[in-house]
C-alpha cells in the first residue's frame, strides 16, 4: 500500500498520495522531533514540515532499499542537525553544554520520568535512544539514519542507558541527603 503511494508520488507528483503518506507517518516524525527539540513544539513541527517538504522534493531518490519511515527519520534528523547548527543560541544547545559540565544535579530534583531525563543527554544520544526504544528501529537502521558506524550505535545506546541511570542515582542520593 505504502509502496504504491510512493510510486504515485514518484511518477506523477501526486499530492493526494503524498498527503496519505503524511497521515501515515506524521506521528512518529513529529514525536521524534518534539523529543529532540526538548518539547519545543513550534520548532519541532516546523522541522517536521520541512522534513515532509524535502521528502516530497527528493522522493525520486528513495529507491525502497529501507523502510519509508526510516528514510523520513533520516531527513528529519538531518533537518534537526542543520537547524541546531544555524541556531547556536537555541535552548537545547545550552542544555547540552550544561549537561557535560557536571552541574546538572541541582536541576534534576523532581524529574522522575525518563522523558524528562532525556534533556541531560546530547542530541545524538537522545536521537539514538528514541529511534531504538520509541520507534523500534534496529541498530542497523539507526546507523543508516544517523550515518554513523553500527558499533557506535551499540556503544551509544549502552552509554546513554548508564548515563540516565547515573542521573537517577544522583537524584536519589540528593533526596536521601535532604532527609
Amino acid at each position: 500500500m505504502e509502496a504504491k503511494l510512493v510510486e504515485r508520488v514518484q511518477r506523477a507528483n501526486d499530492h493526494h498520495a503524498f498527503e496519505q503518506l503524511m497521515r501515515q507517518n506524521q506521528s512518529p516524525i513529529r514525536q521524534f522531533l518534539r523529543r529532540l527539540t526538548l518539547q519545543n513544539q513550534g520548532i519541532a513541527d516546523e522541522l517536521a514540515q520541512e522534513t515532509f517538504l524535502k521528502a516530497f522534493v527528493h522522493i525520486k531518490s528513495y529507491r525502497g532499499e529501507s523502510k519509508f519511515l526510516s528514510w523520513l527519520f533520516k531527513i528529519a534528523y538531518q533537518q534537526f542537525v542543520s537547524s541546531t547548527r544555524k541556531k547556536t543560541e537555541q535552548t537545547n544547545v545550552e542544555v547540552e553544554d550544561k549537561a557535560d559540565d557536571g552541574k546538572f544535579e541541582h536541576r534534576i530534583v523532581a524529574e522522575k520520568t525518563v522523558k524528562n531525563l532525556l534533556k541531560h543527554l546530547k542530541s545524538d544520544e537522545r536521537a539514538i535512544l528514541l529511534l531504538h526504544f520509541s520507534h523500534d528501529l534496529t541498530h542497523q537502521e539507526i546507523a543508516i539514519v544517523m550515518q554513523i558506524p553500527l558499533g557506535t550505535v551499540k556503544t551509544q545506546i549502552r552509554r546513554s542507558r548508564l548515563k540516565l541511570k547515573s542521573y537517577t542515582e544522583v537524584n536519589d542520593s540528593e533526596k536521601t541527603d535532604e532527609k
Partner: protein, 111 residues
C-alpha cells in the same frame, strides 16, 4: 526506577508517546509544496528565458548576415535560399531542444 534502565520493554514503555494526527499539519505541508512548485516554475521560466536569450545572442548575428546576403540573392537565384532556410531550421531546432532539456531538468528537479 534506576534498575529498570537495562530493561528494554520498560524503556520502550517509558519513551512511548501519544499518537499525533491532525489534518492542519498535512494541509500546511501541501501548501508549502504548492508554493515550492510555484517557485520552482519561476526558476524554470527564468532559466528558459536565459537559454533562449543565449541562443538568440549566438545565432541572431549569423542569421542576420545570411538573411542580408540572401535578400539580394533570393531575387537572383532561388537556390541560394537553401542555406538561409537551413540555418533558420537549425536555430529553431536548437531552441526547441533547449525547451526539451529545461523541461526534463524541471521533471528531474534539477532546476
Amino acid at each position: 526506577m534506576k534498575n529498570d534502565f537495562l530493561n528494554d520493554d520498560w524503556l520502550k514503555e517509558e519513551l512511548s508517546d501519544e499518537y499525533i494526527n491532525d489534518d492542519n499539519f498535512s494541509f500546511s505541508v501541501v501548501k508549502k509544496i504548492e508554493l515550492h512548485e510555484t517557485n520552482s516554475k519561476r526558476n524554470f521560466y527564468a532559466a528558459l528565458v536565459a537559454m533562449i536569450a543565449l541562443f538568440g545572442f549566438l545565432f541572431i548575428p549569423d542569421l542576420m548576415m545570411i538573411s542580408a546576403e540572401n535578400a539580394v540573392l533570393i531575387l537572383v537565384n532561388k537556390q541560394q535560399m537553401l542555406p538561409f532556410m537551413e540555418m533558420e531550421l537549425i536555430g529553431l531546432f536548437v531552441i526547441l531542444l533547449s525547451f526539451v532539456l529545461i523541461w526534463s531538468f524541471e521533471n528531474f528537479d534539477l532546476v
